[in-house]
């Protein structure tokens, strides 16, 4: 017993010594690919930060963020949750067929009101036809894959209510996805839709704009990655799930992309293969977040303004088969008036297209009123 007590004491002290030493001594990252966010900066000591308690908060954040083997600890917790019989971790449901689906929470009504109002104002002043559509998440379209009775917001109800409130009409993206819900419309490990999901949405948009639908022979599926682990995977820490496949449907022939990542125009492309080397491989489409992006194609068709979130990155290749120009504005980064942009570039139509959770929470739609 005596010997064992010594062993236990030493074990504990070693654990308590090794963890902080490694945490302090090993090199620190400032960005977590796994979590797709900047990690906490070291706390700054000053009388002010001590008095306000800021120093203490920052120190606690720093320790949590830079704990040695952080990603592995997160995975161990996910595994423990699963082994304990849980059907979810960190708001992500473990679903049938190696699928991970993030729950959608009931939204904050005040922000929604503002966003609906912004879309209405934009529709009135834009000077071109404005369409509005919301994209449901996998939690709604793949509801049958969720654990039985798992709570999640009623997205279909929200989408029809919000579409009615904005009163500008638009494609029934939710219906188009619903009609194909047995197909691989979403990534199993990411919140985005796949090129196939985007394809059915594109058809709904084209039909609504009175343009010819996509024909099967125009599409040339090509697998570009078999090792994509998306954001929902990171959130759930569910490392036992097999990776996703990224497929493109449209070749890049004859298409010119003008990207604008940092305020200056650069030659971009529909697909950016270097992004496939990184963790967030979805950025392969158009190269990731940017305020403005213009896609010019040889197609004879109208010029479209797309007020969008990241779902549109993989939608644009499909739309480029029918629109001659697509101008994508991301209001998180583009702070000027969209109405003036339409006028300045002589655009013909506008489409406000968001995934439902983004639209429910986004605080930048107010810029539509400018």
């Amino acid at each position: 017993m005596k010997k064992q007590n010594l062993f236990i004491s030493v074990l504990f002290c070693l654990f308590l010594a090794v963890m902080p030493l490694l945490t302090l001594l090993l090199p620190h990252k400032s960005f977590s690919e796994q979590e797709n966010r900047n990690l906490a900066a070291p706390p700054r000591l000053s009388e002010q930060s001590l008095r306000s308690g800021r120093f203490m908060e920052d120190a606690e954040d720093w320790v949590s963020d830079h704990m040695v083997l952080r990603d592995q600890w997160v995975r161990l917790k996910a595994l423990a949750e699963r082994l304990s019989g849980k059907r979810e971790n960190n708001d992500v449901y473990f679903c049938a067929g190696d699928t991970l689906i993030k729950r959608v929470d009931e939204p904050d009504e005040a922000q929604i009101k503002k966003n609906v109002e912004a879309v209405r104002v934009f529709a009135e002043k834009a000077g071109v036809p404005v369409r509005f559509a919301l994209i449901p998440t996998a939690a709604s379209v793949w509801a049958d894959r969720l654990p039985a009775n798992a709570p999640t917001a009623d997205e279909t109800a929200w989408i029809s209510r919000l579409s009615a409130q904005t009163d500008c009409g638009g494609p029934d993206v939710a219906g188009a996805l619903q009609a194909h819900r047995d197909e691989e419309l979403y990534y199993r490990t990411d919140h985005h839709w796949t090129s196939l999901g985007a394809r059915y949405a594109a058809d709904a948009i084209l039909a609504d704009c009175g343009l010819p639908l996509l024909r099967e022979e125009e599409l040339r599926p090509r697998v570009v990655s078999e090792s994509f682990y998306g954001t929902v995977y990171s959130r759930a820490g569910a490392w036992w799930v097999k990776p996703d496949r990224i497929t493109t449907l449209v070749p890049e022939d004859g298409i010119r992309v003008i990207s604008n990542f940092t305020g200056t125009e650069t030659a971009g492309s529909l697909y950016v293969p270097s992004r496939l080397e990184e963790k967030n491989k979805y950025a392969f489409f158009l190269g990731g977040n940017q305020p403005v992006c213009v896609v010019q194609s040889p197609a004879a068709g109208p010029k479209l303004l797309l007020i969008r979130d990241s779902y549109s990155d993989s939608l644009v290749p499909l739309l480029s088969l029918r629109f001659s120009e697509i101008h994508l504005l991301d209001l998180r980064y583009y702070r000027l008036s969209p109405t003036e942009y339409i006028e300045a570039h002589g655009l013909d139509e506008a489409l406000v297209l968001y995934s439902l959770p983004t639209f429910l929470e986004d605080r930048n739609l107010i810029l539509l009123k400018r």
């Binding site: 064992q4 236990i8 074990l11 504990f12 902080p20 308690g53 917790k77 423990a80 059907r87």
Partner: protein, 465 residues
């Protein structure tokens, strides 16, 4: 700082332990005092002054009491005790109850008492009770005067029990302050106990807390959901609170102290009276020794005895938080305890054990509903849902999902609230025990670390106490 943060476990604790064991024995109290002040300052900053003030006041009052007693001036000694109590109860009242009182008065239309938005300093309910016990113990001759301000400061601020108990009476710790033995056996026992407490908090309590939060926030409840929710809260508060006490006792042992036990499997009680002998023992005995018995206890007329019981349970309830529902909760137990003492007791003795457990469980579940819902209109709605009033559905799909989702954890929790697992372990062959002890310990530490690092969900329940 709280125990269940990476900062505490991997920085504060190893550094404190290292310094504590590296310095000469006579400096250890000073190291503990400084570490505890740092621990408190980290979270409460300037409010540390109030704790120091309470420490200084009772240190000097102890001196006064002793001097008056020596001089045979018992009346003056009693005055000094009263002065200490008035001081401690005043700061406790001001920081904890002022806003409640002012808010209630304003609600009644009396606007002359302003709501000040007073910050409740963490642990004030614990350390004021501890410092008061010192002066009383010295007066009663139950404890020796502590002349060393560092040792006394260490008693009040001792970080393992500073912010959530157990409430240690001075007489239980006084001699350990001057002399205690730090042995490997005690250290290992401390490690074991601390890890058990950490696991109770991180692996169980937080889980049940998430389940309770779901039902608490649910826009509509089913009857089953309401019961499941309050069951989850019952398990959360037990594992949260007893886990914290385990961590405190464990840390104490690592530092050579032996703290009193605070929980003895309260949920296996066969009567409400027994439950209160097993739940938060350090608080019940505090009120018993420093309020109930001085009032006359039960060695007086029946009317006075009922009054004493009433006062103790009103105080116990109110001690738990500055909100009227806690008072109601205390009085709820006053009624049950009185009933058990007057009529139910003999009846219970004749009931089979199973029915007695059902009886206790029902009373506790309702009690926790009163405890958990501070807002009376929400409490009424919740109790209504438990009884299926107002057209509440019996069951809902979501309740079924949550039940299945948490079922294994609920079973572990229900079993873990009984001595069964510990008993099974004791009955294992010695060889198995030798193998399992370090293995379980390591597994527990690793799992807790995983939950600590990954967990964003880590609220402590009893900070408002």
């Amino acid at each position: 700082m709280v125990f269940s943060t990476p900062l505490f476990l991997f920085f504060f604790l190893p550094v404190t332990l290292a310094i504590y064991y590296l310095v000469p024995v006579r400096w250890r109290n000073a190291v503990l005092l400084l570490a505890s002040l740092f621990f408190y300052f980290w979270g409460e900053r300037l409010y540390t002054v109030i704790m120091l003030l309470s420490t200084a006041v009772d240190y000097t009052h102890g001196m006064l009491v002793e001097r008056f007693k020596r001089a045979g001036k018992l009346k003056k000694a009693r005055l000094a005790v009263a002065s200490s109590m008035i001081f401690n109860l005043s700061i406790l009242f001001f920081f904890k109850y002022w806003d409640l009182l002012a808010g209630t008065l304003q609600g009644l239309g009396l606007r002359f008492v302003p709501v000040l938005g007073v910050h409740l300093p963490i642990g004030i309910s614990f350390y004021t009770f501890q410092t008061m016990s010192y002066t009383v113990d010295v007066y009663r001759g139950d404890a020796k005067l502590q002349r060393n301000p560092i040792s006394f400061g260490t008693f009040v601020t001792l970080f393992p029990q500073l912010i959530a108990g157990p409430i240690i009476k001075y007489k239980e710790l006084g001699s350990q302050l001057d002399e205690r033995s730090c042995t490997v056996d005690r250290f290992a026992a401390g490690v074991e106990r601390f890890t058990v407490g950490l696991a109770k908090k991180l692996l169980l309590a937080n889980n049940f807390g998430a389940l309770w939060d779901f039902f608490k926030a649910a826009p509509t409840l089913s009857v089953g959901g309401a019961w499941l929710g309050v069951l989850a809260f019952s398990l959360q508060i037990y594992f949260d609170f007893s886990g914290y006490s385990d961590m405190a006792i464990g840390l104490g042992r690592m530092l050579g102290f032996e703290f009193p036990e605070n929980f003895r499997y309260p949920y296996i009680a066969r009567s409400v009276t027994e439950f209160w002998r097993r739940w938060h023992i350090s608080l019940s005995t505090w009120f018993r020794e420093y309020l109930y018995i001085p009032l006359g206890g039960n060695r007086c007329s029946r009317a006075k005895w009922v009054r004493n019981l009433f006062l103790v349970w009103a105080a116990t309830g109110f001690w738990h938080g500055a909100s009227w529902n806690y008072l109601l909760w205390g009085l709820y137990y006053f009624v049950w305890l009185l009933l058990e003492k007057l009529v139910l007791g003999k009846l219970l003795d004749r009931l089979p054990g199973f029915l007695r457990h059902c009886y206790v469980a029902l009373i506790l579940l309702f009690g926790w509903a009163i405890f958990a819902l501070e807002d009376f209109s929400r409490l009424r709605a919740y109790l209504g849902a438990m009884f299926g009033l107002g057209g509440t559905a019996l069951w809902s799909g979501v309740t079924g999902y949550e039940l299945l989702n948490y079922l294994p954890m609920l079973l572990v929790g229900l079993l873990g609230a009984t001595p069964l697992a510990a008993e099974c372990f004791r009955r294992l062959p010695a060889g198995w025990q030798r193998l399992l002890r370090p293995a379980l310990l390591l597994a527990g530490l690793l799992l807790c670390t995983a939950y600590l690092v990954a967990g964003t969900y880590n609220p402590f329940l009893y900070f408002r106490f």
